[in-house]
């Protein structure tokens, strides 16, 4: 199989148990395949194991059992060094808390991922500016990250996630810290990126956010329930 036809994510019977005490089975026998260019959302109540799931997908955490192939590469067989490299080069992270370096400029923040690829500084800067252009933040490139609005910060964070040309964009509550109007512009941006061929996986509480994906999966007590094009009904939320 070539890289183009290989699924981005292929989970086979993946489990993650936190050795307590008390031991917590945060993920149990999860099977999931995400094809290249797919847009998947993950929903679930609090404490259901969404963040655990995302950490496993992002190679920040190792599953206690099962197989996880990213771009066809088995993360379990890799050394920490190679897992770090795979994470840095193939995965873009977007966090609820943005995690920008607030005392540095927007462009410096976007230049950060390529610091670890050994790319010359000038080239890094050029690519970072290109990426800021793409997320509509070129005009604030030299602004201090700490002085940007929430929506602007998240767009800079998305530019940072994209600059290494990842196979997969992993978003953990990307609109959790934004008001609904700002959230809409960020979701709009993610939609655009997806339409340009990027594989996206979004973890969210918000059914409105989840609905934008081609497919939504739901986690409950560490177990995955697949719901094709369906919106899960949370009791506290309207349709």
């Amino acid at each position: 199989m070539t890289l183009a036809t290989e699924p981005v994510i292929n989970l086979q019977q993946v489990a993650r148990t936190y050795t307590g005490p008390p031991a917590v089975k945060a993920l149990a026998n999860v099977n999931l395949t995400v094809s290249r260019g797919e847009y998947v959302s993950v929903v679930g109540p609090s404490g259901s194991g969404k963040s655990t799931f995302l950490n496993v997908l992002g190679l920040l955490d190792r599953p206690t059992s099962g197989r996880y192939l990213l771009d066809g590469i088995d993360g379990a067989e890799l050394s920490e060094r190679d897992r770090t490299a795979l994470r840095g080069r193939r995965i873009g992270f977007v966090f609820q808390a943005f995690h920008l370096l607030s005392h540095r400029t927007a462009v410096e923040n976007v230049m950060l991922p390529q610091l670890y690829t050994g790319m010359p500084r000038k080239k890094r800067r050029r690519q970072a500016l290109d990426m800021l252009e793409r997320v509509g933040m070129a005009h604030r490139a030299e602004g201090q990250a700490g002085q940007l609005s929430g929506g602007e910060r998240q767009r800079v964070a998305i530019a940072r996630a994209l600059v290494n040309g990842p196979s997969l964009l992993l978003c953990d509550e990307p609109t959790g810290n934004l008001d609904s109007e700002t959230a809409a512009t960020v979701l709009q941006l993610i939609d655009e990126l997806h339409s340009q061929g990027l594989s996206v996986l979004v973890v969210t509480h918000d059914s409105g956010v989840a609905r934008r994906a081609q497919r939504t999966v739901m986690i409950k007590d560490g177990k995955l329930e697949v719901q094709l094009h369906a919106v899960p009904a949370f009791p506290e939320e309207g349709p």
């Binding site: 963040s51 950490n55 992002g58 920040l60 955490d61 590469i73 067989e77 890799l78 920490e80 060094r81 190679d82 770090t84 490299a85 795979l86 994470r87 840095g88 080069r89 193939r90 995965i91 992270f93 966090f95 609820q96 808390a97 995690h99 370096l101 005392h103 540095r104 410096e108 950060l112 991922p113 610091l115 670890y116 690829t117 050994g118 500084r121 940072r160 290494n164």
Partner: protein
């Protein structure tokens, strides 16, 4: 297929580590300045202490006159001197003058043991004799060796000495006491009633200033009149004027030149060399101040270690982010090490400048010549950098062990 070829490992260039560290430090200049303050003060006091002591001792060296540096004196230290033995051979002056570096030399002894009466007129009773005047026997080179300045007349020469002429030279105070100011008329001074013709009067002597109260008689004329001084009562001395820088070498050779048969009979006094003097001054002053500067530096290092550790805990999110972007634990450690080293280096650079300014300012106020050893000034910033690096070891190790999943949980 090996996985290493599937994914190229991440790396971090040294130049990028340095740039990141500087950017992080400069992003918060106020905090960086406060953190580096301890190192700044430590290095500043180091440079200032070393600079000030070297400047001060340089000043001493400058004031250490040519006069003191070019004087060698020789004393007879025989345990059991024999009668009629003044230790110095007849031609002592000639022997010593043959040594390379000697300008002039003279043997002299006081006639105090003989308890002479001195007057300007013959036949004066002992009780009426002029008080305070001292009779000396001195070889002709003595006057040049003490840098005597003649007010009038001349001194006696080797011929007068060899022919045991009854002549003398007066110090200006003795001449005034005796009422003699003019040597044109060849006045005489009576020592124990024996007349000595006054050849000249000197009004200044840079060495042995008490010689201004003296009546100087050629050594052989003296021994012809009164015999050699009684052993044990009077010791003969020699004073030698050397060229600048030759005192040590001359001092080494004098004993053998004088008495090859009995060189240990003499004690030779050479001046402390300026270098030795400087060392003495330095040793006394520097020790304590350097200890204080060291304590200051250590406090500075602890300050950097503390701030860096706080920064690590404060920047857990950043650490997690960098790990998610492909940074390996060693890259995280490198970032924090470079930051603490940069803090130390910047603090030490500012401290070095402050120290140099202090030295120059003090020297300016005291109108001294500032003296700073480049061996101290140039490595001072590096010392600060190394201290910063060491201070960063523990925080960097802590930072590298932070789990990214923990770090990103907010």
């Amino acid at each position: 297929m090996p996985f290493a070829r599937l994914v190229e490992p991440t790396r971090l260039k040294v130049v990028d580590v340095v740039a990141e560290a500087l950017a992080a430090v400069l992003a918060r200049p106020g905090r960086a300045a406060l953190t580096a303050l301890g190192t700044l003060l430590g290095v500043a006091s180091f440079v200032a202490v070393l600079g000030l002591t070297s400047t001060a001792s340089g000043q001493i060296s400058a004031e250490f006159t040519k006069l003191e540096a070019t004087q060698v004196t020789v004393e007879d230290v025989a345990a059991n001197p024999q009668p009629n033995d003044i230790a110095f051979p007849d031609n002592a002056e000639q022997r010593v003058k043959r040594i390379n570096g000697v300008n002039a030399a003279g043997v002299y002894w006081t006639g105090r043991g003989a308890d002479h009466t001195v007057s300007a007129r013959p036949g004066v009773a002992r009780s009426d004799a002029t008080q305070g005047i001292q009779v000396y026997a001195a070889s002709p080179g003595f006057f040049k060796a003490i840098h005597a300045h003649l007010a009038t007349g001349r001194t006696y020469d080797a011929f007068a000495e060899n022919t045991q002429q009854r002549v003398c030279v007066l110090g200006v105070a003795a001449a005034r006491e005796l009422g003699i100011s003019d040597v044109e008329q060849q006045p005489a001074v009576f020592v124990d009633g024996k007349p000595f013709t006054v050849l000249g009067i000197f009004d200044d002597a840079e060495r042995i200033p008490e010689s201004l109260l003296g009546v100087f008689i050629p050594d052989r004329s003296y021994t012809a009149a009164w015999g050699s001084p009684k052993p044990g009562t009077v010791a003969a001395h020699m004073v030698i004027d050397t060229r600048l820088g030759a005192a040590d070498v001359v001092g080494d050779q004098v004993q053998v030149a004088l008495r090859p048969d009995e060189p240990t009979r003499f004690q030779v006094n050479v001046p402390l060399s300026p270098k030795e003097l400087t060392r003495q001054v330095n040793n006394q002053l520097q020790g304590l101040f350097l200890l204080l500067a060291l304590i200051c530096l250590a406090v500075g290092a602890v300050g950097i270690a503390n701030t860096t550790l706080v920064a690590v805990l404060e920047r857990v999110g950043e650490i997690g982010l960098r790990r998610s972007l492909g940074a390996r634990p060693r890259h995280i450690a490198a970032h924090f090490l470079a930051e603490s080293a940069a803090l130390g280096l910047l603090g030490a650079m500012a401290g070095t400048s402050l120290g140099v300014v202090t030295v120059v300012a003090v020297a300016w106020v005291k109108s001294w010549t500032p003296l700073l050893d480049p061996v101290i000034v140039l490595p001072a910033p590096l010392v600060g950098g190394v201290m910063g690096l060491l201070a960063g070891v523990y925080p960097a190790w802590r930072a590298s062990r932070i789990e990214p999943t923990e770090a990103l949980r907010r």
